[in-house]
Structures are given as C-alpha cells and as structure tokens.
C-alpha cells in the first residue's frame, strides 16, 4: 500500500511539472536515517523519482510553506492538511499557490517504541506493507504490527483523511476515533496539586532548550519569537522556571491552532512528552468551544472569532 502511495505521488508530481501547474514540489526523499525521511524540495522534473512516502514521514511539511512565493505542489495527510488550512487562514500562504496532493493517513510509527522493541540495536532499513513493517539491521530482521507501534497522537487521530486537497491518491481511510480523547490529560488534571507540579517539573527536567519543538512546528513562524525578544520574557539559562515558562507560553501561542501532528514530540532529542500542554489546550478548546483546528477555510481560528453566548463563568 505504501509502495502504491509512493508511485502515485511520483506520477502526480511528474504530471504537475509537465502541465507546468507548479514551480516546485515539496515532499520526502529517502535519507540515511530510516526513522527520519528527509523533507525535500523538487524543482526539476527528473528529480520526482526521489519522492517517497512511508510510515515515518511524520514531520509536518506545512512548516516549509511559510512565506514562499512559488506555485507549490505538496503532499498532505490529515494533520498536515489541517495545518495548511490554518496557514492559509493566517495569510502565510495563498490557497491558489498550492496544489495539495491528499494522502489518507494510516498513522506514523513511534521510532522510540521500535528502538526499545529491538533492545536499541541499530536499524538500517525498514520495509513495510499494509499492516506490518520489518526492521532490518546487521544480522537481524524482525517484523511487527504497525498498530502496536503508532505514535500517541496517531492512535487517537480524528482526521486521518486530508480536509483539503486538489487530488487524493487513495480511498479515505476509516477514522480511528469519533471524538478526540484526552485520557492522559485527565489523569494529570486529577493529580493533587503538589504531585502535578512535581510530575511536570520531572517531565521537563531533561529539556536542553534546543527549540526543536518550536522550529519543527508549522504554527511557529514569527519573525522574532517571544523567546528572542531583546528584552526577554524569561531567562536564557536552563533554569527550571524559565524552561516551564517557555513551554507553556509556546503552547499557549498554539492554542486553537494546533492540529496535533506530533512533530514536536517526535523531534525532542531527549524524548519529553511535550504535547501535554498543547493537548490540555486542545482539550479545553474542544470541550468548551467544541473547536478543532484547521477543519475548514471558512471557519476563523478559535481566538480570532467569538460567539455572544460563549461560555462565561467569570465574576
């Protein structure tokens, strides 16, 4: 099935170049790390054969659209397409610039779970088919079910099919969950306050402030991020209070905009489950305002709109 997707993407890209509908095509190419296929920009028709698609293409390609002027072909699964909707609503890219190749998504593999399953042996190659994938390394091969190794956000994905596209490369897949579930967030919410503070402080302890979670996120495109303002809002050292300040303020900047693609959690070099903050905001946005980000170009984002009878329990 993955092989089928890859061929389809190449075909479409080739056609788009031939019909001169696009100047560039943004997708993935095979790199040297099977868990992190390399985002790539194809500008010549002969390079379309480099394009691939597999269950590790988990970075949100919308991140590469900000401010581009060309006509762009881009592949987009559910969460990426929703980020593209948000990008268009926030005037970072125009709809007419884009030719979106929709991909019904089966969910992305969690490389940390896979590494743990093979006791951290080096994996050189991954082959996959419909339901299974096989990891190959020096002197060992092992097969697993995709279902057992999906990323957290993919397990509870409510919109695997692209919400916006010019062409879709396969039949839409069935949705995993009718409505988003936030059990892990409820669990933290119900912790007594001291335990919750300790849980969050322990969780952020290893953060090295490399800002990969911010730089991989398509929502974070401010020319001068609040992190880099000349008169800073928080200190630059790895002081725990400053690290916590960064993460909650960054999460709050994504409130009502995050499509839970999981890229931030995937790139964290020390494996922090960093999504709990933004997932808490997504939970409240859904439960209080029944809001999910990036579902339609007609709907203004959460904080850019209001209803007179919005929930209001203020004094």
């Amino acid at each position: 099935m993955m092989q089928h997707y890859t061929e389809k993407i190449k075909e479409i890209a080739k056609r788009l170049f031939e019909e001169e509908k696009i100047d560039i095509f943004i997708g993935y190419e095979k790199g040297t790390n099977p868990f992190f296929p390399r985002p790539t920009l194809i500008s010549k028709i002969e390079d379309v054969n480099k394009l691939i698609w597999n269950s590790n293409c988990a970075l949100n390609l919308c991140n590469y659209l900000t401010g581009r002027k060309e006509r762009i072909g881009i592949i987009a699964n559910g969460c990426t397409s929703r980020s593209i909707v948000t990008h268009i609503l926030e005037n970072q890219i125009k709809r007419e610039q884009l030719y979106i190749v929709g991909i019904p998504c089966e969910g992305m593999l969690d490389y940390r779970k896979i590494q743990a399953a093979v006791d951290n042996k080096e994996i050189l190659e991954i082959k996959e088919n419909e339901k299974e994938f096989k990891v190959i390394g020096d002197g060992f091969e092992e097969a697993f079910n995709k279902e057992d190794f999906l990323q957290e956000n993919c397990l509870a994905c409510t919109h695997p099919n692209p919400v916006i596209y010019d062409e879709i490369i396969a039949e839409p897949v069935s949705t995993r969950a009718a409505r988003p579930e936030y059990e892990d967030i409820k669990e933290i919410e119900e912790m007594p306050i001291e335990k919750r503070r300790f849980h969050i402080q322990k969780l952020l302890e290893r953060c090295i402030r490399c800002y990969a979670c911010r730089n991989v996120c398509p929502l974070c495109y401010c020319p001068t991020c609040f992190v880099d303002e000349r008169i800073p809002w928080f200190g630059k050292s790895i002081d725990p209070t400053d690290t916590l300040t960064f993460h909650i303020l960054r999460a709050f900047h994504c409130a009502g905009r995050c499509t839970d693609c999981g890229a931030c959690e995937r790139v964290c070099p020390v494996g922090i489950p960093i999504r709990i903050f933004i997932k808490k905001l997504n939970k409240d946005a859904f439960e209080i305002f029944s809001w999910e980000a990036g579902l339609s170009l007609e709907q203004k984002p959460l904080f850019a709109a209001y209803k007179k009878d919005d929930y209001d329990d203020f004094l």
Binding site: G31, T32, N33, F36, P37, R38, P39, T40, L41, L59, N63, Y64, R112, Q115, A116, N120, E122, L124, D138, R206, I208, R209, C210, Y211, A212, R214, N215, V216, D228, G235, K236, S237, I238, D239, A263, R266, V267, P269, V270, G271
Partner: protein, 343 residues
C-alpha cells in the same frame, strides 16, 4: 600496564570511591545519559553511546560566571566577583573514545596560548577519563575517518576492553593509574587477555565502513567551498534547531547573559548555537547570517574547513554520529562533507 577486573567487582568498587565524583552511563527512559553514580543509579556498560555527549560534565549548559550586587549602599556594588564554586575531582567511567577525542578538539579553543577559560580548564584538569572501547561500532560511526578509532586512546587516562565477564584496563596516564588504585580486585592481565583485546580492536576497526572524503575536503580551498552553489539545496530540510550543536561533543559556542533578581545579579554563560539567527544579529538589525543556508553553511564550514585551517590538526569532528542519529530532517554530515569535497 594492563589490569584485569571482574565486571561486578569493578562496578561494585565504583560505589565505594569517595574522593571522586563518578559519572557512569545509565539508562533513563529511552536513552542513556552520563549520570552521577548514586544509590539507585546502575551503570550500564553495554550501552552504544549516551544520547547527549559528556561535554556538560566539563562545560555545563548554564554556568554562573560572576555575581554582583546592584544595591547602591553596598561598598562593592556593580563590581563583578567570580562566583564561588568548587571543582571536585571527578571521573567519567565508560566514556567512548570519540567523546574523549572531542575534549581534545575543544581544548584547543578553551585552553590556548592567548587565553585560558578558567572554568573549562579547572574542570578538565580535575577530570579523569576512563574510556570504554567500542566492540560494535555502528553505521553512523566514522571515528576512524577523523583521526580516532573504536579503541583510540586520544584524551583518555585509561581504556577498558570489554572481554565478556572481565574488563581489561590499559592504564595510559598517571591520572589514570592514580584513579585505578582506588578500584580493588584487579589482577595482572595475562597474555591471552591482551591478545583477545587486540583481536576485538581489529574487528571493531574493520566494522567502520562509512565513506567520508576528509582528505579530499581538506585540500579544497575555503572560498571555493564557501561559494559553491550547493548550500541552498543542502540547507532546505534544516529547521535551524539546536539539536545537532547541543548534542555534539565538539561544539563549544556560548552566549553570556546577565540576570537580575531584586538587587542581586548574575552573569551566566549558556550554550549557544550558530543555527539560531540571533547568534550573529547586530543591535543595528544587520545580520551577516540572516538566511538559513548561511547558518547551515557556517556549521559545516566551521567543523570541516575553518577549524582545520586555524589549527592544522584535522577536522572539528570526532565521528560520534550523534548529529546523524538525532537530526529530525536527516542532515547527514557525511553526505554533506562528500558534497563539499566534490565541488
């Protein structure tokens, strides 16, 4: 001088050492980190390598350099004083040869004829490096291509060979022998052990097959590589985060920031990254490296061209492969080095 230790004896006696602060590789969550040896921390010497390099043991990510008072009444208000801190004797047990080699590369920056960085040099001098050779280098390792090797002794005070149940320890320096006197239970090694170790070393070296054209690259002119039209394409995937520079054992760039709380102030040194735009942003708004491709070019030019040009001692990379493993967009230094050497 070789000594042989039963693994359990070696590990148990580590707990008994009092006058050294011991760092060992320990698993926490998905990754290994060098952690201080205390109750509850069990060293795992069957690890591949730690996720973060051991550089933070000598060169902490955030360090208080100076303190000062901002209270006008104080006699020495506004005058900076070096922050009081001790530099205890410490030992890193199980450091991989590539990371030890990295400290020698970084030493050229922090300990040079013109200036010595007081904090880095003091901590470095008080640290004993007990290396653990790599029986199974990986595909992302290329230490042999940059002047090192799975059993290289550069920057080590002793090197351990993992012979299965035993560690064969080859003492290399006085610092090493001084430390090893603290470990009980060692006995003289026999010829067979040393032969076995040699065999393991040869096999390990043969396992490193990755091709990276360092010699060809060193011959190329700096301007030639700088002005090549490869950089826009190479830099496209990069998201300019700090993962590669913060995980890299040979990256040393830093930032200095002042912080004030009420009338007490601190001057703090933090790690910094050439990947961040504000690294070179002038107060006037001018930024010599404003575009992403310039920053990506700077990183690889510094490691593979500027450092060799300045110190004439090989590249500023020890081949540990952390940046290849951790980069979210698969910027592979080996591929980029080969592109640079073929322009």
């Amino acid at each position: 001088m070789y000594k042989l230790f039963k693994k359990e004896d070696f590990i148990n006696s580590l707990y008994k050492i009092k006058d050294y602060k011991i760092f060992v590789p320990a698993k926490e969550g998905y990754y290994h980190f060098f952690s201080p040896l205390e109750k509850g921390i069990s060293p795992d010497f069957s690890f591949f390598n730690t996720r973060l390099s051991p550089k933070s043991i000598i060169y902490p990510q955030s360090e208080r350099m100076f303190e000062f008072s901002l209270n006008k009444e104080d006699p020495d208000a506004f005058i900076l004083k070096e922050a009081e801190k001790e530099f205890p004797l410490q030992a890193i047990i199980g450091i991989r040869p590539c990371d030890a080699h990295a400290f020698q590369i970084v030493k050229k920056n922090f300990d040079n004829p013109d200036y010595k960085d007081p904090w880095w040099t003091k901590r470095y001098e008080n640290t004993t490096f007990i290396g653990l050779g790599c029986n199974n280098p990986r595909n992302t390792c290329f230490c042999t291509k940059v002047g090192g090797g799975p059993f290289s002794e550069i920057g080590l005070d002793a090197i351990m060979y993992d012979l299965g149940e035993n560690f064969l320890i080859k003492v290399l320096t006085d610092k090493g022998s001084l430390f090893l006197k603290k470990i009980e239970g060692g006995k003289e090694a026999e010829e067979t052990h040393i032969k076995q170790a040699e065999k393991i070393k040869k096999e390990a070296e043969a396992k490193i097959k990755t091709d990276i054209e360092i010699e060809a690259l060193l011959k190329k002119g700096i301007l030639q590589v700088f002005e090549a039209d490869i950089w826009e394409e190479i830099s496209f995937p990069c998201i300019n985060c700090g993962i590669c520079t913060y995980l890299c054992p040979t990256c040393w760039c830093f930032d200095i920031q002042d912080e004030v709380y009420k009338d007490k102030g601190d001057r703090i040194r933090n790690w910094d990254s050439c990947m961040f735009p504000i690294f070179t942003l002038h107060a006037s708004g001018h930024n010599p490296r404003a575009e992403k491709f310039r920053r990506v070019r700077q990183r690889f030019m510094h490691k593979l061209k500027y450092y060799p040009e300045k110190y004439h001692d090989g590249v500023q990379c020890s081949g540990c492969g952390r940046c290849i493993i951790a980069c979210p967009t698969n910027m592979d230094i080996r591929e980029i080095a080969n592109k640079m050497s073929k322009i």
